[in-house]
Amino acid sequence: MNDQGYFGQYGGSFIPEILYSSQQELLKHYREAMADPSFVESVKKEMQQYSGRPTPLTHCANLSAQIGGAQIYLKREDLNHSGAHKMNNVIGQGLLTKRMGKKRVIAETGAGQHGVATALISARLGLECTIYMGAHDIERQYPNVFWMKQLGATVVPVTTGSQTLKDALDEALRDWTASFEDTHYLIGTSCGCEPFPEMVAGFQSVIGEEVKDQAMAQIGKMPDKIFACVGGGSNACGIFLPFVGTDTELIGIEAGGCGDGVGEHAKRFHTDQAKFGISQGFATMFLQDEEGQLAPTHSISAGLDYVGVSPILADLSDRGLVRMSSARDEEVVAGFKQLMKAEGIIAALESSHAIAGGLREAAQLSPDQNIVINVSGRGDKDIFTIAKALGDEPFKDFLATYLEGEK
């Protein structure tokens, strides 16, 4: 990374001038904080004592045997407080917010996972909290909204544009331009202007650092491959970065959705629907049309349903240090089920992309090879989607009866 927050041709800061000083201030505080051992220690402490880190590395004997290839290990970010890796980032940025003396955070959220994580840490740190969420997403993901509200956060429905994540991000940026004096914009993935990609990836790197120690302790050597799903890219950056340039191959799995047509997937690589672009504060591969209008996306997992991608990953992919691949909705549901039945682990649908990718490739490896799949979050949250995908009738009856009882 060079001094202007670039990763190869990606990254940078492309924000309205009004945010310049606020972004500079953040950059300064971030650099100072990271150079201050007591801050680094406080992040580590909160990750341990609040979120329960380290998360384990789980060997999957049954699953490995079923696949008949490499030994499969899972990095269990699902065991974080809040049920996903998102907690790592909000702890870091939350403590930074306190250090900067700001009283309020704003955040964008798609599926609501980052929104819930932000609302949790805001309660914990006594920060005011406003979450921007697309009105469509609010409708689809209301349980998360319910918890954000219960936690005391203000949830603002974003009714512009596609009423989904990218619009929520736009709206959060708009809030920030009016509120930066007392407000930190707590971005949920390693996207956005400098120093967000680096900062979020940095706070998430605890994942990969732990994998290194755990691989040595449990396997006796580094894994041959690591798989992570890629929405904005934060869990992938988190587990990949400590391994970049080592012999471990790093594979990012994007949302292949239900097809290759425009709006049917959320792939920013290996599709000519995505091109280099600049928006939402930074340069990266964006799904867009010929006019440069950002394109609609689809994924069975709301958390991967994003139009751009971390500039860090875009660059690592260009440089051949990370290989990008994707998994389609059906393959994802199959991977979700196979893991669940073989090992009793209910992964988030986002994470199930990494699982699908991992299982595909594990089969081609030998039993003395080892792969690590990042389980970025847990799947309880996906019950509505899964029950729908499986057409489970009793679930509908349960809901209907519940609603009856509420009348």
């Binding site: 009004i18 512009t160 544009g161 331009t177 672009g277 006019e291 440069g292 209008q293």
Partner: protein, 260 residues
Amino acid sequence: MSTLATFVKQQRQQKSMLLMTHVIYGYPTIDESLQMMTSLLEKGVAILEVQFPFSDPVADGPVITNACHDALENKPKLSQCLADITKLAAEYPNTKVLLMSYLNPILQYGFEALAADMQAGVAGIIIPDLPIDHHAMAAPLVEKSVDPIWLMIPDMSDERMEFVSQHAQGLLYCVSRKGVTGQGSDSQSEQSQLESYLNSIKKHTDVPLALGFGISTAQDIQGIVGLVDVAVVGSALLRAYQNGGLSEFNEKADELLTVQ
């Protein structure tokens, strides 16, 4: 001095304040937007700012954002937009036409291509998400004498003002307050802060100044006579149109033009 700057300075010899009005290309339809533009040109506004809609207009408020999304339904093309406004610019030589859009549509079009296509009739361009730090990206425009119109904001450091000033040409767009477009101004007591802000800009540059964000009435304009050269009215006209169609739009434009 750029044609735009020269134009502004000349006009200002007759008028205490120039008006810069805003229309979104393609809203509510391409034809209707062209009608709005024509209407303003007929009335002789000094500067017409045409926004080419983008899906993610982060520096715009809800009124313009929603209008941009509506406009996108009509699948506007930047090439056609340039052709259309170049034609209008040729028909109304007493008005300078500016393009406003975000970085990504421009990037996909290409700065070189854009410079070539703007050269004929579009005097300048406003790109709110292109910070001054990336001025080099706009070099192809500068080369073809199309003015990139940079933004100044309150509380900017002296150093950064100087940096912007170094690259300023044609016009400088001074933001009058924090936030996004179309949110109305705060108390009158901010007037003195505004003056000292503008004075500090003037220390660095003699490029003409436009003041924007939150100007919506003739009275607002009157209040800044003497402080800047150009008053920028954005969402006020759009709101008028949304309230009462072209006729209310025209009334609003007439009101704004009473300050000469």
